[in-house]
Symmetry: C2
Subunit: 220 residues, 2 copies
């Protein structure tokens, strides 16, 4: 053992992986806007500039934590029932992205070519192609599914109220949605207040529409 001799206890070595893990933790707990080089360094009991011995710049950290999160998503089984696999893939992605609220934004705002992302995409295309989709059809299908999943997740993350409080929120804001100006928003609010509509948005709804359509497309 070369370390810890003479009581000059070496700190646990900093590595790129430790940096990225700490970055994920920090973003999860404090929000992505709090992920600064200085705060991240201080979490690691180190100065900001020391991080640059392990990553080129902050962008490399962002790329790294995106790929770390993508690796949490369940990858489709090539050769499995395409519909089951696409469904599982989508719900898993949604769950993971809801766990790491900052991640979707990062995914859709940068080019992601980390190993986890490449593997994820490869398996997705593979599953579709093996199920009889042409490469072109698989490409379109994959793009449509992901567009929806990312868009849905972003909208859900962005919505500032919890499902339980929809009804009271609707009641509180109703005066600001005058019936003459916004008749249908007003109407929908009343549906929510009256409990006839829970106002919940559900990944399943749009996902079913897309997968149904893809099923038909595959048949032809």
């Amino acid at each position: 053992m070369t370390k810890a001799k003479k009581g000059v206890r070496r700190r646990t070595a900093l590595t790129k992986d430790r940096v990225l893990s700490a970055a994920v933790k920090l973003a999860d707990s404090e929000g992505i806007e709090s992920l600064s080089m200085r705060k991240l360094a201080s979490r690691l009991r180190v100065e900001a500039m020391s991080l640059y011995n392990h990553v080129a710049n902050k962008d490399e950290i962002l790329d790294g934590i995106v790929d770390k999160i993508v690796s949490e998503i369940e990858v489709p089984t090539v050769g499995g029932d395409w519909r089951v696999e696409m469904h599982r893939r989508s719900t898993s992605a949604h769950e993971v992205l809801m766990r790491h609220q900052w991640a979707t934004m990062l995914i859709v705002s940068r080019v992601n070519v980390g190993p986890a992302m490449l593997h994820f995409v490869d398996s997705t295309i593979g599953c579709l192609v093996e199920a009889g989709f042409s490469y072109a059809a698989a490409d379109h299908a994959w793009n449509a599914i992901d567009s929806y999943v990312y868009g849905f997740t972003l909208q859900k993350l962005n919505f500032p109220f919890a499902p339980e409080e929809y009804a009271e929120v609707a009641k509180a804001y109703l005066p600001q949605i005058p019936e003459e100006q916004y008749p249908y928003l007003h109407g929908m609010s009343q549906e929510v207040i009256a409990g006839r509509h829970d106002g919940l948005h559900d990944l399943e709804f749009g996902l079913k529409l897309i997968l149904d359509g893809l099923e038909e497309l595959r048949g032809s």
Copy 2:
């Protein structure tokens, strides 16, 4: 006229609207990351802090320019053919968002309750409700469509290559996608290189799936 007397030419008065218009222009031409209070002020030949006489803070500017952009989108006609209107609304939104590349990100990352957005949503719900959808169904439909449109637009904006260069790009990157590791990504790249698949993603594809599904849902 009270201004321009004694040759002490007053500068054109700063207003919130002039600030917002300049902000849109700046974001369009230099990118949203270049939209800083200082740069915006200098475009208006004014100091940064002067802007605060017309807007509370930068967030108010961001909210304002989002609503300005939303007002460019074609609003559905209540009482029109729902499918035609939803289609027009979606393609129009996509076009507008592609014109202002920074706007989608802003829309999906903040709560938008500006007048243009409220009117846009109200008309959308109205069009669907008048076409026979229940409020709950209209809510789900609208959410699914927008999730897809926003997600699709973000992915398209994010893609770093122009359609014309897909084939050569695929050829250039092929070595980095080894067949043993990523067989299907490799396969798809070869389809693109060979010209059998243009690699183009098309808003219509997923939109048709969703609208078809909604049609069926409305029938029942």
